[in-house]
Symmetry: C3
């Protein structure tokens, strides 16, 4: 997998996370600054929590101002063109799923670089993919969606397990990445398409 | 106090924190993944915030995969055997109180190792004991219980003050630890038994 | 600008942040410990998040126990003399605005020391000024005020842009600081006096 493809996926993922954050914030009738912050937190939250837990500071987004600009522009565009953007709901969902796959892999990789065990690496991948949404929902004063509905994190965890299984069977690392991103992408689409959820438990 | 006893207390404390997190999450009707995350956050939240504030990264639970497995298994067991586990309410409360004492001492010790002043060490001990529950309640979208009811943190703070007083009067460190853990354990039980709360203040 | 003036502003700012936190907590009928924690988090939250993101640990308040004592005493005084303190609403608001200006500058400066780009430095300044209130509101289970009303963060961002503009035009650093603190102070007062808010966006 070439760097360029990876980067393109990261940009598409970031944009779709920022748009999802902006819409969630507008729904709660925040002012434009609030919308911006929620967009930002949704996009960079996962990677930031991962970097904090690892002690890899200053955290990633501080070292790349372009990344911040991208989120800023996406958020402003979402505020102004919200009716247009809503029409691309399906496209955005596809970007989001692609981004989820990539972010999971990025988190896992970072854990490997830090010499952590596979279980912890999978946790880091899941945190990278999911924590942005958790912080977004916490700030917006709702129980994080991910804890209640949609098998979002489960998809990341299964992708992570698949990744280490593939490496265990000596698959080339780059190929394993592509397979896992494709797996998370496809699995997420199936889950949402057929409205699969985990069973809930009452007290 | 032998290492083995300390470790046993830590394991019992971790288990009881994980169970309390699982029950709180099931009460809010989260899906199994949500229950797991809340159990995890309740157990490791305090130590994680402490390590982040100190800059001691990667944070503790990342370096010990057994710890994570313990929480995972506890959480799964709680989901499946919830009716059975509820019968051990009193036992769990005792473990929880014991864990609170130990976690407070662990936080204080870490502060001492980092050369911080007693007041800050006590704050670290209290954070280690209490922040797991604060994050749990924040994610579950309620005002943290600890801010409203039950003299949870007060017990930690008083235990911390006692610890430094004992050291000041040249008590052997290991003995001081045992005394403080016993004090927090006993004090907490008295507080809950007699429904003591701090007076509340209106605006 | 002399160190003494800066320090005096920092102390006044800290006190007014602690008082605002205490009142918000009492309004939600927390117990005294809860009031204390919310006061603490409101005061040190912004600087703590900044230090964590930068990896400058142990975070600032751990290295200065006087700072913690100041917040503790302020919080206790607020609990006991709340009716008196409310009479100084205007004075407190002025301190708060002055503190906001200073905290923003402190955050920007720290970013510069870490060699970060101006955009990121402004973000750090805004985080230092605003995140205490965001954490306060999150713990108190409301959508952070700053996301919904009052152009709080916007004032920080504009102050930050002004600061780098002044440096760009070769203004002496110390003078630039005074100008920016005065600008944030004055701008905030105008905003609140004339009830200016950013327009809101529905979904």
């Amino acid at each position: 997998m070439q760097i360029n493809t990876m980067e393109a996926i990261e940009i598409l993922g970031t944009i779709s996370f920022a748009i999802s954050g902006s819409f969630a914030a507008m729904q709660k009738r925040l002012d434009p600054f609030g919308v911006l912050i929620i967009a930002f937190v949704t996009s960079v939250g996962g990677g930031t929590v991962r970097d904090l837990l690892l002690g890899d500071t200053p955290v990633a987004w501080m070292r790349d101002v372009n990344y911040c600009l991208l989120i800023l522009l996406t958020s402003i565009a979402t505020i102004f063109f919200k009716t247009h953007i809503k029409k691309f709901k399906v496209t955005l969902f596809l970007f989001d799923s692609l981004g989820l796959g990539l972010f999971t892999i990025l988190g896992i990789q970072k854990g490997i670089v830090f010499g952590l065990s596979p279980g912890i690496c999978i946790a880091l991948g899941t945190i990278t993919g999911c924590f942005g949404g958790i912080i977004r929902d916490t700030f917006l004063n709702t129980i994080p969606l991910i804890f209640r509905k949609e098998v979002y994190a489960t998809v990341c965890i299964m992708g992570g397990i698949l990744y280490f299984s593939l490496l265990y069977f000596n698959l080339k690392e780059d190929l394993a990445k592509v397979v896992v991103i494709a797996f998370i992408f496809a699995f997420r689409i199936v889950v949402v398409r057929y409205k699969l959820t985990l069973p809930k438990f009452g007290y």
